[in-house]
């Protein structure tokens, strides 16, 4: 295998890349060298400029400075069409597939085989099946894309790029939507694709992935390349340190809660109680299907599961953002089943929403104003907002949660993802509450802020709050939860104490391969 970096075999070489978006300096002299036929990780925190660098490589963006070479040829500032023609293909985080077409049709889309001016479907199917066999990317050529699982859809995306003759494959956070077994499969596929001579660049911020599948690593921080290393010669701690610029504690802590009710979560609980909850989703009649559970004070119940199995609908229903079909919800000893969002908040429900840009923040509002969102009725007198109280609160929260920059009059959109999330968390944790819904609390947040957020959640738990945690990161669930539930197809298919849970145990439940006998027995 190509040893460490560069050398004469480098198939991609980018030097001194500069890219500005308005006032934002996204790439400041970034560089990367990728050897032919290797799986290369491009890692860095959110906003480090990884995606920008890859968009420049794939022709979607033109650099403001620097030089891009592919296969020894200067291709600086080329177009996507030129990049595809030269064999550079990108698989995006959000799939670009037409759900109403079959797999084969999707794969050949844009390069359809034609016989006498009509689409040659048989040949398309044949070609796709051949390619599928060669690459090890097993896909059902005749099925509609709408009927595929997420993992299958991703394979179609990769196959599509290969069909167009990609010799350099760029993958942007490919595991974000996959369950653990699907991730393992993806690695096998990528290794096989690599063995056919394709070079792969993997954009990621998950260090275990980097260790599992790559040969070489480029680390970016604040728009610049800060380290290049051979995977064999480093450790996750070493990579994390390069990403953040300081030491980071990556150990999975499993500090148990005070544990009143942590074991059974039942009798005398005055936290969150959900009974027989059924919720309609945007596409499915029973996105949440007759779920019953409770979270005791001083307990974190973590819900694991592949995204799209009803977690979103469950939390939206509890927080009052989505109408329920049937069931009941209690916070403390108050029934909030029919309460408005505001009444639920006043009853003691705090909520860190999974999408801070759509739900959690008004991006054009200042940090100070965002810190009272949902509390505005407590910050007004006779209908007028009490500006002095808003400012006092902002100063307090910004200091307590270390939000940077510290100027609370700035629009929250100018903050980094991690600091935006700190604003949400500061707001939701500083108020009076009994129950906290924490959905993807560290999504899109840099490694440094993750530690802080996890600590904050543990402290809230230790202070006697009942916390319902939903996370797509199994690691996060395992690190925080006292009890773990797995959601699949709108149901709780397994509930167990943290001590019994591990990736190996939970994996089969997450894919639906296993179902517990006693369903929703939480």
């Amino acid at each position: 295998m190509t040893a460490s970096v560069g050398g004469p075999t480098a198939v991609v070489r980018m030097n001194g890349i500069q890219k500005y978006f308005g006032a934002v300096h996204a790439n400041r002299g970034a560089e990367i060298e990728v050897g032919a036929g290797e799986i290369h990780a491009l890692v860095g925190e959110n906003g480090a400029g990884k995606s920008t660098l890859m968009k420049i490589l794939s022709g979607m963006q033109a650099p403001d400075g620097g030089r891009v070479e592919v296969g020894g040829r200067d291709v600086t500032g080329w177009t996507t069409a030129q990049a595809i023609a030269a064999g550079v293909g990108m698989v995006h985080q959000h799939f670009m597939l037409v759900p109403t077409l079959t797999v084969a049709e999707n794969v050949v889309l844009g390069r359809e085989p034609v016989s006498v001016a009509t689409f040659d479907r048989d040949r398309a199917i044949r070609e796709v099946e051949e390619l599928s066999e060669q690459s090890g990317l097993i896909v059902p050529a005749n099925r509609l894309v709408a009927d595929l699982s997420v993992g299958e859809a991703q394979r179609v995306e990769i196959l599509k790029t290969l069909y167009r003759g990609a010799r350099i494959l760029l993958l942007d956070e490919p595991t974000a939507v996959l369950s653990p077994p699907e991730v393992t499969e993806l690695w096998a596929v990528l290794r096989r694709v690599r063995d056919t001579g394709t070079t792969i660049i993997l954009i990621t911020h998950k260090l275990d992935e980097v260790m599992a599948v790559t040969e070489c690593i480029t680390v970016m921080r604040q728009g610049a390349t800060v380290a290049r290393m051979a995977t064999r010669a480093t450790t996750p701690e070493g990579i994390a340190k390069a990403m953040v610029g300081r030491d980071v504690n990556l150990a999975v802590q499993t500090s148990a809660g005070r544990g009143n009710g942590a074991a059974d979560g039942g009798g005398g609980a005055t936290g969150l109680t959900v009974r027989n909850l059924t919720v309609r989703g945007p596409r499915i009649e029973r996105a949440v299907n007759d779920v019953t559970f409770s979270v005791a004070p001083g307990e974190i119940l973590g819900i694991a599961g592949v995204e799209g199995n009803g977690q979103t609908e469950l939390l939206e229903a509890i927080s009052g953002l989505r109408a329920i079909t049937s069931g009941s919800i209690r916070v403390g000893d108050r029934d909030i089943t029919r309460a408005s969002v505001r009444e639920r908040g006043d009853a003691g429900l705090s909520h860190i929403p999974e999408d801070r840009h759509q739900r959690g923040l008004v991006l054009e509002y200042s940090v100070a104003d965002n810190l009272i969102l949902g509390q505005q009725h407590h910050y007004s007198r006779n209908g007028a907002i009490d500006r002095a109280a808003v400012a006092t609160n902002a100063a307090k929260q910004v200091a307590a949660f270390d939000v940077r920059p510290t100027d609370a009059s700035l629009e929250v959109r100018t903050l980094s993802g991690g600091n935006q999330q700190k604003v949400v968390i500061a707001r939701e944790l500083s108020r009076d509450f009994i129950v906290l819904l924490a959905a993807q609390p560290t999504r899109g947040v840099d490694v440094g802020a993750i530690e802080f957020i996890h600590d904050t959640l543990r402290k809230a738990r230790d202070a006697g709050k009942a916390i319902l945690l939903v996370s797509a990161e199994l690691r996060e669930v395992l690190s925080l939860a006292d009890r773990v539930a797995v959601m699949y197809g709108g149901r709780f298919v397994a509930v167990m104490p943290r001590a019994d849970a591990s990736e190996e145990v939970l994996g089969p439940y997450m894919t639906g391969a296993r179902k517990a006998d006693t369903e929703s027995a939480a």
């Binding site: 709408a146 995204e307 799209g308 408005s340 969002v341 999974e354 739900r359 959690g360 949902g374």
Partner: protein
């Protein structure tokens, strides 16, 4: 880190469009004037003298700006809540009719201050009702407010035309009898210099309304929630705001402000309602709001600008056709519309959804699932 670039960018974004528009107007105006064989400098000078050069001109500009400020502010308030109110024309007419109706219905002996207050309230009530209809339809049934407000213009104007023509007109005219209560005095009556110009004390009422709306939008809980709904409905809903109710409230308020504009003509100028008095001032309100960047103060400046152009057209009519001014108004609207962030964002969003149309086969995350709503 440093916030200077952000602040500078915000300032640029606020000032650049009007400046570019103004430059465009000057250049295009020069060309047009030259084609009529006149000297641009002389024509511009004439325009300035005829508007801001004497008290009568100033009075006329202020009179026109008063109506435009109302319709512009109406559009701006709705836009702050994320709604496009194209119905200011009908709401303005409804407000004017409401004022005249109250002025005719009140007993003759009503003290004038009480009469004025009731007439103004009636104007806002009628305009507000015309605005509330699309608001309710949007909130309850999801009917798009652009369609409904456009259609409401036809309905309101046709209805008023019918009422005037069939029931209330002075023979041989299309206006109501003169109101006997609620008249607002012209400023020229007490300040001689303004004599003959249409400007009246409504301008004070409207100025107070601008200040009140400004306070409401930026200093009250209602305004906080209204703007949050306009910027990020999802976050507002999450923050305990009833989005539908906010939409209804915003459109009713918008209609009431547009209706207030009717006071200027009916109570302050003519003393009666005349069919067709709105005459495009409602539609021009959209331009005023865009140029004024949906800010009450910006709306006032933009209203003064458009009023100046409009009055200036009359002043230069002796040298060049006054229609030149309409061309210039159109140019301003195009130039600003192309650069205003709201429009740019709408265009980008439209382009974005088109590009992202073939999306993921399965719901990948909550935000994806919400997107098609």
């Amino acid at each position: 880190m440093s916030m200077t670039p952000a602040r500078r960018a915000a300032l640029e974004e606020a000032l650049l469009p009007p400046i570019v528009a103004l430059a465009l107007v000057l250049v295009a105006g020069d060309v047009l004037i030259l084609t009529y064989g006149e000297a641009p400098g002389a024509v511009w000078r004439l325009m300035l003298e005829g508007t801001w050069g004497n008290a009568y001109g100033v009075g006329q500009v202020l009179y026109k700006a008063t109506t435009l400020a109302c319709t512009g502010l109406a559009v701006a308030v709705a836009l702050r809540a994320g709604l496009f109110n194209i119905g200011a024309e009908g709401q303005l007419a409804a407000g004017g009719f409401g004022a005249a109706f109250a002025g005719l219905a009140l007993p003759t002996g009503t003290p004038s201050i009480i009469g004025i207050v009731i007439c103004i309230a009636a104007a806002m009530l009628f305009g507000g009702a015309a605005g509330a209809v699309p608001g309710v339809l949007r909130a309850k049934f999801g009917a798009h407010e652009v369609i409904v407000t456009i259609m409401m213009n036809f309905i309101v104007l046709a209805l008023l035309n019918y009422v005037i023509a069939a029931k209330l007109h002075v023979p041989e005219t299309l206006h109501t009898p003169a109101i006997h209560t609620g008249s607002i005095a012209r400023i020229g009556d007490s300040i001689g210099a303004f004599h003959g110009s249409a400007v009246n004390w409504s301008v004070v009422v409207v100025s107070a309304a601008v200040a009140a709306v400004s306070w409401y939008l930026f200093r009250t809980r209602g305004g906080f929630e209204l703007r949050a709904v306009g910027l990020q409905p999802g976050a507002a809903e999450y923050g305990g705001v009833n989005v539908s109710r906010t939409w209804m409230r915003a459109l009713a308020l918008s209609g009431a402000i547009a209706g207030l504009g009717g006071v200027n003509f009916v109570l302050g100028y003519k003393g009666y309602y005349e069919d067709g008095f709105a005459g495009g001032a409602g539609f021009l309100g959209i331009a005023v709001a865009l140029v004024g960047r949906n800010h009450p103060l910006g709306v006032v400046v933009a209203a003064l600008f458009f009023a100046t152009l409009s009055q200036g057209g009359l002043a230069i009519n002796a040298m060049v056709p006054k229609q030149i001014v309409e061309v210039l108004q159109g140019l301003v609207i195009l130039a600003v519309a192309a650069s205003v962030p709201e429009v740019r964002r709408l265009v980008l969003k439209a382009a974005g959804t088109r590009r992202a149309a073939p999306v993921s086969p399965k719901p990948m995350s909550g935000s994806d699932a919400e997107a098609p709503r």
